[in-house]
Amino acid sequence: VIRLVVALPAEAKPLVSHFKLKPAREARGFKIYQNDDMALIVSGVGKIAAAAATAYLQAWTGNRPNGAWINVGMAGHRDLRLGEGILAYRIADRATGETWYPPPVIESPSPRAPVVTVDKVEENFAEDWVFEMEAAGFYPSACRFATAELIQCYKIVSDNGSVPPRWLSMRQVDELLESRFSEIDAVVQRTAALARELAILNKDPRELRTMLDRWHFTVTEKRRLHRLLQRWQALAPEKTLFDSELARRESGKEVLRLIQARVESLPLRLA
């Protein structure tokens, strides 16, 4: 599942429509929209709200590790044009001085820039940073649930040195986001592709469920079984292990012995 975190209902609306998400009526405390592949949460403004929403969304989506996480939102910058999209290469919390560096593994569809999270709306863009209010809450919270390569922070400039911070109308937010849908899609798809690669790796070996349903294994034996089945799959990807000889085994221990013997009899073909 791809997880999106946005601060405001106005930011959620165009994304909900673009990704065809439906409201999750059972959600409490936060608004969540979802479909089979994606869930979006509306965190509210500020890093604490963003951190709490990120944790809630993790639990809401089944608490599985290594999903793709993307924080999408509006931000300010001294010089960048209104509507410009950026992907964060650094996220700093101005209040605490803490800094994070999202690994640049995906090809960015937009320029990359440093992002600083502030506690109050910034009116004086003194440094060459993208100013916003959620990333420093979202990012470390998401890092608890996924490897850093799967967590991205994408911001759209809504105010700058010439156009001061202000409440945007819903229509203006719609327009800003719509103008960057192709970039948001690219970030979502590229990050999701990395997440899929990890998901395939973490998938249980093919015949694990069959074995676990049929025999009892201790916790240690389960780990051994898991690795033996992984080895079998690596060495004989086209072969099935379960057969009548295995079916005749009475205990988990006997099963492990037989599988080990079979794994060790396989030739080692490297490619």
Partner: protein, 334 residues
């Protein structure tokens, strides 16, 4: 191509950092305090980063030159290693770096001058006595030479210190700078070799064997002393045929009497690294093979390993004199 360069503020104006940055004019430049902020963080995926690694330019402090692990030598009594770079541009599936580091980004320590001072200090501990310095333990010594110019930089130092032996361990064909220089009698250009099918399956991005043999031939012709490192020795179907053919190909192209040394050693890894690598690549047949833990090291089962070693030793001895031959001790492990 490098898309992102992290630069320690401390080395931002180091001429070498500037020169390396100039090779990648379109890369994003991100200034950082210390490379550990990026490189040593928890919760990173080596496998995913390897798809698009960034470059980190840093200054190395403290222990720049370290005693080499037991069994790493080629006849010398005093053996040390040093690494001007962490991580490798190649992607060899058996490489311990995957198990050792959290990050696949390349770190280049640009203060080469401090490596020279540290090597000099080791030499001064036993004046006039030979010492061996191995480069290429945490990286490939030559693969990134066009970017780092490391060998070119340390060449004059080793030219001034004939008692200091330098081993450049590589799988690269980046030998241009060596071919342009006068060969050093105290420098060994040591090539790690596996049979072509093994290389194709496991040594991703490494130049084809024939190209490496051509580079080796050119170096030998120029007068550089070569080392051959059949290490790690990798089990595969038809192991005997593949290794016999490799040895025949190598000694058909190279003059054995001009070699500095030949070593052979089995695939072995610290157990913690092996486990980490298996988690990164559970689908990899190499890690699914007949290995066992012996002490803190994982390697092929002992009888199998002994058989593989004795086969290689038997096959190599007709080509190589015993004085320059260094088979690894099976139980000589860290």
């Amino acid at each position: 191509v490098i898309h992102t360069i992290y630069i320690e503020e401390d080395v931002a104006e180091h001429p070498r950092a500037e020169q390396i940055c100039s090779r990648f004019p379109n890369a994003d430049r991100v200034f950082i305090r210390r490379y550990g902020e990026i490189f040593n963080r928890n919760g990173q995926s080596f496998r995913l980063q390897k798809k698009r690694p960034a470059l980190i330019l840093a200054r190395k402090f403290g222990r720049l030159v370290l005693p080499a692990p037991r069994g790493y030598g080629i006849g010398g009594q005093r053996n040390f290693y040093f690494s001007h770079m962490l991580n490798c541009v190649y992607d060899c599936r058996y490489c311990f770096l995957q198990g050792m580091y959290r990050s696949a980004h390349y770190v280049v320590f640009v203060n080469y001058e401090d490596f020279e001072k540290a090597i000099e200090a080791k030499l001064e501990e036993s004046p006039g006595k030979e010492a061996y310095f191995f480069s290429g333990y945490d990286c490939d010594s030559l693969a990134w030479e066009p970017v780092t110019h490391f060998v070119k930089s340390i060449y004059p130092f080793f030219a001034r210190h004939p008692e200091a032996w330098l081993e450049l361990r590589t799988k690269s064909t980046q030998v241009k700078s060596l071919l342009e220089a006068t060969p050093l009698a105290n420098c060994i250009v040591a090539f790690s070799l596996t049979p072509e099918p093994v290389s194709k399956a496991l040594e991703h991005k490494v130049p084809p064997l024939q190209q490496r043999l051509a580079a080796m031939e050119a170096l030998q012709e120029r007068g550089w002393r070569l080392g051959l490192r059949f290490d790690p020795m990798i089990l595969t179907e038809d192991f005997h045929r593949h290794y016999r053919r490799l040895f025949a190909e190598v000694f058909e192209r190279l003059r054995a009497d001009r070699l500095h040394s030949v070593s052979v050693g089995p695939f072995r890894l610290p157990g913690t690294y092996f486990d980490a690598m298996t988690r990164l690549y559970p689908e990899e047949p190499l890690f699914a093979g007949p290995v066992e833990a012996r002490g803190r090291v994982v390697s092929y089962k002992k009888r199998l390993e002994e058989e593989m070693m004795s086969f290689c030793v038997r096959e190599l001895l007709p080509y190589v004199s015993e004085e320059i031959f260094f088979p690894a001790e099976i139980d000589g492990r860290a």
